[in-house]
Every structure is written in structure tokens, then in C-alpha cells.
């Protein structure tokens, strides 16, 4: 077959601008009690994603109490003044909805996706657990056990995630981003019901929360209902401020994790600024060139050309409250070494720090970012996630809607400059999972 189509060399800017122009506006309101409300109508399907984002994550945890935010998230399903334990989930299921929640370093978020006629139930249930969580001591202990099972599943029996956990712990000396979101196992044995309740009282307040709804509703009507339901919840004047800053890194840090494992795993990261810095946009483009798709430099180098990794890639997410990491990962292929993989990564980094990307590569990165923007609009859930995320870390919903046009201005020189500035040996933390022979399985002490 011959190639009948020459790909367009122009960017997609005209198209994307048109799409933005025709999109419904994002409306932002702040209630008197400080609650932020972000609404976007989307009428192409009879669904809505209703989300509540709280500005509390593992970032707000102290030594000895790690995992508290995530545990509290679980306990938010165990009943509030007007809804029994599990009733939230039962009601959502009864009407064909899906609900879930997630906790990360900067936030805790709750979502329900269902038909718009059920929005009044979303409002009533979310407002009740924002203001009147029961936190029954009887429910506390089994749920703590559930979370410990979750830790065993995700981290303790998973050498890759265990490596990632240790890398973050080494990369951050002062800032709580070094603490695992799920919590250290020993902390999970000592958290109490009162710890969780104090955490709830401290952080679950309207002026520390953002409501996001995207879907098939009328904004004026929904906003009125939100005011009625959430307006009476009092603001908190005691949300603990967090002033901690990570000191600059002045030399490579290395972590070795020795575990029974089939293949070595490399996870390495560089401290980078977040959305608040102008450098975040070139860093996004840099990450795209390195990691996005099979035409990316890391895929082409590690999996296609050298074939030294089974899987490899990385990510840079500028949407964090405090500066985070630009990270690379690779599962090393059989008969190859972590050293080889590390060397190849550094060579690719060096190349981008010393010469700008090719023009076509830069255009591809921008095209991908713009196309993603359009494709993400297909899902009300994804749109609400992005808006809630950007709002909660302080970037604001505009960050999402203006992202493609700002990325378009990034030059090849910018990309080279940020690669050179941030992806340096002194600024990186490297963790390597080094397989050791499995000993016969014997009773072991868990997580201590």
C-alpha cells in the first residue's frame, strides 16, 4: 500500500480555538462561606459528574500519623447524620451511578457520575458528610484493617511500588511529599478514631473545598441549589497553614532496594517547579517529547533501539501545590542491567539539554497536547477531574482552559533551557530495585 496522505505540518491551533469557542463556559463562584463552585454545562449526554475536592492530602500529615488523610477518605463512606454507613454507595448504585474517591498528596476528592435528575441527592449527601460525619468508633477498626490490606496489596507485595515509595522518601528531606499517601505500616497500626476526627474537623470545611459539576444541567438552577444546601455550613477559621519548603538538593541521592524480584526496576526523579513557574510549560513539552507515545524519545531509545527495558517512561505533572518531581521509570529487560538503562536515560537527557528538539518533534508534542485537550472533553468525568485538580492546587480552572494556547508559545530553545536547568545529576534521586534470590517463605515481621 502506498502512503496516500501527507500529514499536516501546521499546528491544530485553528481547530482547537474553534472548539474552545464553541464550548460551554466554565463558571466559577465563591459562596459566602468560602466554598468554591465550578460549573460547566455539557449537554451531549444525559450524565453528570459531581465532585467535591478538599484541599487536604498526605502533604498535611505529620510524622507518626501518615496515612490519616486516606483513612479519613474511607471513613467518609461510613455514615453521617442523615445517611447510615454504606448508604451513600447503596443510593448511588440504586440509581445506576458510579462513585469513588481518591486521596493524593495535595487533595482528597469524591465523585459521583450519574443521571442529572439525581443531583439533589448528590448535594444532600455530600453536604451532610462535609458538615456532620459520624465517625462511629465501631466502624473505625475494621476500616483501618481494610486500609492495611490496601497497603499490603499496593506496596508491600509489589516491589515496584515499594521502590517508588522509597525514592520519594529520599527525594524529600523536609517536605511531607516524601511520606507515602497510604501511610507507613507502623503508623497504620497506631492511628485512632480521634486522630481521624480531628483531621476531619481541621480540614473538611467549605473554605477548604471545591465543588465541580460537569454535565447535563442548568447552571443557574444548580448554583441556587448548591447555595441552599452548602451555604449554611460554617467556614473554618482554623485551617492549619503549611509553610514547609524543601531545601535545594546539592548532589545525587541513591536508594537501593534489595528484594526477591524477577527484573530490576529504575525510578529516578528531579526536583522541578510547579504550575506557578513559567518554566512549567516548557517542562510539559519536554516531558511530552520524552514520554508520550511510541514515537517518544524514551520509547524509541529504551524499547525500540536498545531494547534494554520491558517498559519505560515517565511523567511531569505541573499541577501540584508545592514543587514536585519530573520522573523517569524503567523495568529492565532480562540480561540487561539497571546501569545500562540509567546511562541511556542520562544520554537522552543530555541530548535534550544540549540541542533543541527537532521542529517536527516540537510540533508533534504541541499537536498531542491540543488533541488531548479536545479528546478529554468527551468525558464529563475527565473534565471535572481536571478542573477540580487545577483549582485545588491553586492553579485555577483557567489553567486548564488556556493550557493548549500557552503551550503553543513554547520554543525549542525553552525546552533545551529547562532540560539543562533542572535535569542535572546533582538534582536527581535514583532508586534501583535490585533483585535478590528469594529465600524460602517464612513468617516475617510485617512492615516494621
Amino acid at each position: 500500500m502506498t502512503r496516500r496522505f501527507t500529514p499536516f505540518l501546521a499546528t491544530l491551533s485553528v481547530l482547537v480555538s474553534a472548539a474552545i469557542l464553541h464550548a460551554e463556559p466554565v463558571r466559577i463562584h465563591t459562596l459566602d462561606n468560602g466554598l468554591t463552585v465550578i460549573l460547566k454545562e455539557e449537554h451531549k449526554a444525559p450524565v453528570v459528574s459531581f465532585q467535591v475536592w478538599y484541599g487536604v492530602g498526605s502533604r498535611n500529615e505529620v510524622t507518626g500519623k501518615t496515612g490519616l488523610t486516606h483513612l479519613l477518605e474511607h471513613l467518609m463512606f461510613k455514615g453521617s447524620e442523615h445517611y447510615d454507613k454504606g448508604e451513600f454507595s447503596r443510593i448511588v448504585a440504586r440509581y445506576g451511578g458510579t462513585e469513588n474517591a481518591f486521596t493524593y498528596r495535595d487533595y482528597t476528592a469524591y465523585f459521583t457520575n450519574w443521571a442529572p435528575q439525581h443531583l439533589p441527592l448528590s448535594l444532600a449527601m455530600e453536604a451532610d458528610r462535609m458538615a456532620n460525619l459520624t465517625l462511629d468508633p465501631e466502624e473505625f477498626t475494621p476500616e483501618l484493617e481494610v486500609v492495611r490490606e490496601e497497603r499490603r496489596l499496593r506496596i508491600d507485595d509489589n516491589p515496584i511500588y515499594a521502590t517508588i515509595e522509597q525514592m520519594y522518601a529520599a527525594a524529600y528531606m523536609a517536605h511531607p511529599y516524601g511520606q507515602p499517601v497510604i501511610g507507613w505500616m507502623n503508623d497504620l497500626k497506631h492511628l485512632t478514631r480521634d486522630d481521624a476526627y480531628r483531621h476531619y474537623l481541621a480540614y473538611y470545611a467549605p473554605n477548604n473545598a471545591t465543588i465541580v459539576a460537569v454535565g447535563d444541567f442548568d447552571s443557574a438552577d444548580l448554583l441556587r441549589r448548591i447555595r441552599e444546601t452548602f451555604g449554611p455550613i460554617p467556614r473554618s477559621n482554623a485551617i492549619p497553614p503549611l509553610t514547609v519548603r524543601e531545601p535545594p538538593q546539592e548532589g545525587e541521592r541513591r536508594i537501593i532496594l534489595r528484594r526477591p524480584a524477577q527484573l530490576p526496576f529504575v525510578f529516578l526523579g528531579y526536583h522541578t517547579p510547579n504550575w506557578a513557574s513559567e518554566d512549567s510549560l516548557p517542562l510539559v513539552v519536554l516531558a511530552n517529547i520524552l514520554f508520550e507515545g511510541k514515537s517518544s524519545r524514551m520509547f524509541q531509545r529504551l524499547m525500540y533501539r536498545d531494547q534494554i527495558a520491558v517498559d519505560g517512561g515517565g511523567e511531569y505533572d505541573p499541577l501540584t501545590t508545592d514543587p514536585e518531581l519530573f520522573y523517569f521509570y524503567a523495568i529492565v529487560a532480562p540480561d540487561h542491567s539497571a546501569d545500562e538503562v540509567e546511562a541511556a536515560i542520562y544520554e537522552e537527557v543530555e541530548r535534550l539539554a544540549s540541542e533543541p528538539p527537532e521542529e517536527r518533534e516540537l510540533t508533534r508534542a504541541k499537536n498531542q497536547i491540543e488533541a488531548d485537550f479536545l479528546m478529554n472533553q468527551d468525558s464529563v468525568y475527565t473534565q471535572a477531574m481536571q478542573l477540580g485538580h487545577a483549582a485545588t492546587v491553586g492553579a485555577g480552572p483557567d489553567y486548564v482552559t488556556t493550557f493548549p494556547e500557552r503551550v503553543r508559545k513554547v520554543t525549542g530553545e525553552d525546552v533545551m533551557r529547562v532540560a539543562k536547568a533542572y535535569l542535572t545529576a546533582d538534582n536527581r534521586t535514583v532508586a534501583v530495585l535490585t533483585p535478590k534470590m528469594a529465600e524460602p517463605a517464612t513468617p516475617g515481621k510485617e512492615g516494621e
Binding site: 502512503r3 500529514p7 454504606g86 445506576g96 490490606e149 525500540y304 532480562p334 517463605a441 517464612t442
Partner: protein
């Protein structure tokens, strides 16, 4: 592993992912009423079925080509061939190298991917609608003209074998593999899609080409479009890119599904881990089974209904023994597996298994309550808009409906079939299709700590 997957901790994360699989499998059971989904369907002269759902709201399109060339069609002694052929489609054609394929689609911000499921292979593309020509050109090229060049074959083969090796560190994969082998013997449903490493090592280029030539035929495939595309455009493009694809007789493949064991079998696998990874189950049903709807409802009540199911309520909420627990009937072309899966710390494995067995027996011996039945029905009826709320999900559903021969009247019939199920039906199918004394239990754990009791 995606970057995102590394990072979030959710109340339902893993379970959500697990349910995602189950929902995909059952997704055909949750569609919109006919009025909400207008499907244009036609068949080209060479037998290729085309399905189109037009959604002009956004300038994007998802297209899926499904070919009845899944792991079920692996030839005897060549376990993993279907998977390797599917993986190689996007790794080089007669006129394009692997990097060229990736670069062409990614330059315009699109994606292409291919892979094998149990009953079919899939190539999926997603692009802006202005690039639909390019997308279809690529889709047709990779599906029809894969080159199977030596360097591509060896690269993909090494990747598959390394994945199999890496899977030994994943207790969930270890338990799946052992469960499949014990329940299905030599039947392909018993294998992970990668197949059997010794056989994968021996595949020749001739094996790959032959499998492709036999199964990748227009009369064995369905092409589904969803998004900013009209039926007229879709037809024109399909004719242009696939019109000269030659039909041929396609071999019918069917292996015998083994009989259940006389008594429940326990398979223990010793690993240096903190949790017992447990899979319990047996052969289930085919998608064509007339009892599919009552079974779906029975399973929803038992363990399919996320955190509201009986298993989750007992084992997770009441006892705090597991983060994730669910049951699933994977209804396939031939009878697929029924399984209950959970993880619990080694020392509580016996207690959790006992609780699971009590729930399995209870749903057979006692009728479910009217409330449970009505809540299951209202979930299944109410959740369909969410099964169709993106182009990608809708394209998958169209594929599913064609592959399993559900027919377009399926939409209209769905609510009636769900609503017709009675408490008696639920108990009848529980008795007929749950076999608590003829199960396979696989427990991957630190066996000394787990100290398992015999079934």
C-alpha cells in the same frame, strides 16, 4: 504501567480497575434504549460489517476493527500466537516501519493500539475527525499488511517473554495463571493471553503469516465508528481502505471445555508475600446462555455490585479482611470462568475463604430479598447512560454487540429482560451455575503463615 497508575490511592482503586474489566465484559448488558443510540449498520460485499454512531458535538472520532482472531483461536501447540500476531500489527507493515506508524498517528495527536482478547483481536484508533483519512489508512494497513519482519518479530517476542517473567512478581497474575490451568486444562481460556513461553519461543514467521492469512479476513471482522463522522463518510472510507480485502473461508476453532473436578481442589503456591491472593471458582457460562440476565443479577448481588455486594459487605465492611473482593462471570463465546477474587493477610486466609463459601451457599439455599433484587435491577437499568458516555466506550460496545451476535434489537429488549427476572430465577441460576463443592481454589501466599485448611 502508566504514570498515573503509579500514583493515586483510592478507596476503590484496584477494585475499580478489576471491575473495569468485569464491566467491559458485561458492558453489552448495560446499553441505552434504542432511542438514545442510533446505530447505522451495513455489510460490504466482502462481508466486512460496518457500524456507525454519529456524534458531531466534538471534532473527534474513535474507530475499532475487531477480528475473530483472539486467544481462543490459538492453534494447538501454539499458545500465544493470536496475541503475538495482534501485537505485531502496529510494529511494521509492508510499507511502514514501527516508528513510522507511531510517528504518523502521534504527529496529529492521535493514538493507535492493537491487542488480543480471548474471543477477538482489536485495533483501535482515536483521532481528530479531520485526520480520519489518515487514521483509516493506517488502520487498514496494519490490519491487512503486517510485514512480520525478523527484527520486529524478535523485539516483540522478547517483550512478551519478559512480561511473562515480570508477571512472576505479581501475585494476582500468578494466581490467575494457576487458576486458569487448573480449571480449563488445555482449553485456551485457561491461559493468560501471552500464551506458553516454550511455545512462544518456537513461533516462526510462517506461523504468524499463516494465522494472519487464515483469520484476518473481512468476513471475520467488524469495523465500528463513533464520533464526528457520517455513515456516508464511514462507508466511503471503509470501501476505499477495505473494499479490496479478499474474503475467504475462516477455520472454525473449538476446544472441549473440561468437566468440573469431583471435589474442590486447593492449589497452594508459596511466595514471600504478606497477603494471600485467593481465586475461587469454576467454569461459568457462554454469553449466549439463555440464563444470562438472571445470572448477571445473581452475581451482582453476590459479589459483582462493588461495595454494595454481599461479599464486600461481609468480608470487607464487616470483618475488615480485604480491600478488594468481587465475583465475576466472564461470559464469552464459549463458557468463560466464574471466579471470586480477593487478597487478605496470610493469617486470615482461612477465615475469609470460609466467609466466601458461606455466602456462595447462602445464595443457593435462600432466596434473595425483594430489596436486593430491585436494587440490582435499578442499578443495571440506570447505569446504561454511563456505559455510552464517551466515543471510546460506545465503540467498544458496538464491537461487543457484533462479536457476541447480540443484535441491534438488544437495546430495545434489554430493560424487559432485566425486569423480567424474579427472586425464583435468581435462586434457580445460583443452584444451577454455582458449584461450591466442585471448585478450584488457588491461594498464592506465604503458606506457612496462611496454614490453609483443606476444602
Amino acid at each position: 504501567m502508566t504514570a498515573r497508575a503509579i500514583r493515586r490511592h483510592g478507596r476503590l482503586g484496584e477494585l475499580g480497575a478489576a471491575l473495569g474489566v468485569a464491566l467491559l465484559i458485561l458492558s453489552a448488558a448495560r446499553p441505552a434504549p434504542a432511542a438514545d443510540l442510533h446505530v447505522h449498520r451495513e455489510t460490504l460485499d466482502n462481508g466486512l460489517v460496518i457500524q456507525v454512531v454519529e456524534r458531531p458535538a466534538l471534532p473527534i472520532v474513535s474507530v475499532e476493527l475487531a477480528v475473530r482472531a483472539g486467544t481462543r483461536h490459538d492453534p494447538l501447540g501454539k499458545a500465544g500466537l493470536a496475541n503475538m500476531v495482534a501485537a505485531l500489527l502496529t510494529e511494521g507493515t509492508e510499507s511502514r516501519t514501527a516508528p513510522q506508524i507511531a510517528e504518523e498517528i502521534e504527529f496529529v495527536g492521535g493514538t493507535i493500539g492493537s491487542g488480543a482478547r480471548r474471543d477477538y483481536a482489536l485495533v483501535a484508533v482515536s483521532v481528530l475527525s479531520r485526520d480520519l483519512n489518515l487514521a483509516l489508512d493506517l488502520l487498514a494497513d496494519v490490519a491487512r499488511h503486517p510485514a512480520f519482519r525478523t527484527e520486529d518479530v524478535e523485539r516483540v517476542r522478547s517483550g512478551i517473554l519478559a512480561t511473562v517473567q515480570a508477571d512472576q512478581d505479581r501475585p494476582g497474575r500468578v494466581s490467575s495463571k494457576a487458576f486458569g490451568e487448573a480449571v480449563y486444562g488445555d482449553h485456551p481460556y485457561g491461559r493468560l493471553e501471552e500464551g506458553i513461553p516454550e511455545q512462544v519461543r518456537a513461533f516462526t514467521r510462517d506461523d504468524l503469516e499463516r494465522f494472519h492469512r487464515l483469520f484476518y479476513r473481512p468476513n471475520n471482522a467488524v469495523l465500528s465508528f463513533v464520533g464526528d463522522v457520517t455513515p456516508r463518510q464511514a462507508r466511503k472510507l471503509a470501501r476505499k481502505m477495505f473494499g479490496d480485502w479478499e474474503p475467504d473461508e475462516v477455520p472454525q476453532v473449538r476446544y472441549a471445555v473440561p468437566e468440573p473436578p469431583e471435589h474442590t481442589r486447593l492449589i497452594k503456591i508459596d511466595r514471600h508475600i504478606t497477603q494471600a491472593n485467593v481465586v475461587m471458582g469454576h467454569v461459568g457460562v457462554a454469553r449466549g446462555n439463555p440464563d444470562f440476565y438472571p445470572l448477571m443479577i445473581m452475581n451482582y448481588i453476590l459479589g459483582g455490585g462493588g461495595l454494595t455486594s454481599r461479599l464486600a459487605d461481609d468480608v470487607r465492611d464487616r470483618q475488615g479482611l480485604a480491600y478488594s473482593i468481587y465475583s465475576d462471570f466472564e461470559a464469552l463465546e464459549e463458557p468463560g470462568p466464574f471466579q471470586i477474587r480477593f487478597q487478605t493477610r496470610n493469617a486470615s486466609a482461612n477465615q475469609a475463604i470460609k466467609s466466601v463459601m458461606e455466602e456462595v451457599r447462602r445464595i443457593r439455599e435462600e432466596p434473595v430479598s425483594e430489596t436486593e433484587l430491585s436494587e440490582a435491577k435499578s442499578y443495571l437499568a440506570g447505569s446504561f447512560p454511563l456505559r455510552l458516555d464517551t466515543n471510546g466506550k460506545t465503540a467498544s460496545l458496538l464491537t461487543f454487540i457484533d462479536i457476541y451476535g447480540l443484535g441491534l434489537n438488544y437495546f430495545a429488549d434489554y430493560l424487559d429482560r432485566v425486569n423480567a427476572v424474579t427472586v425464583e430465577d435468581v435462586q434457580r441460576v445460583a443452584r444451577q451455575y454455582l458449584h461450591p463443592d466442585h471448585m478450584v481454589w488457588v491461594v498464592v501466599a506465604n503458606q506457612q503463615e496462611a496454614d490453609l485448611r483443606d476444602p
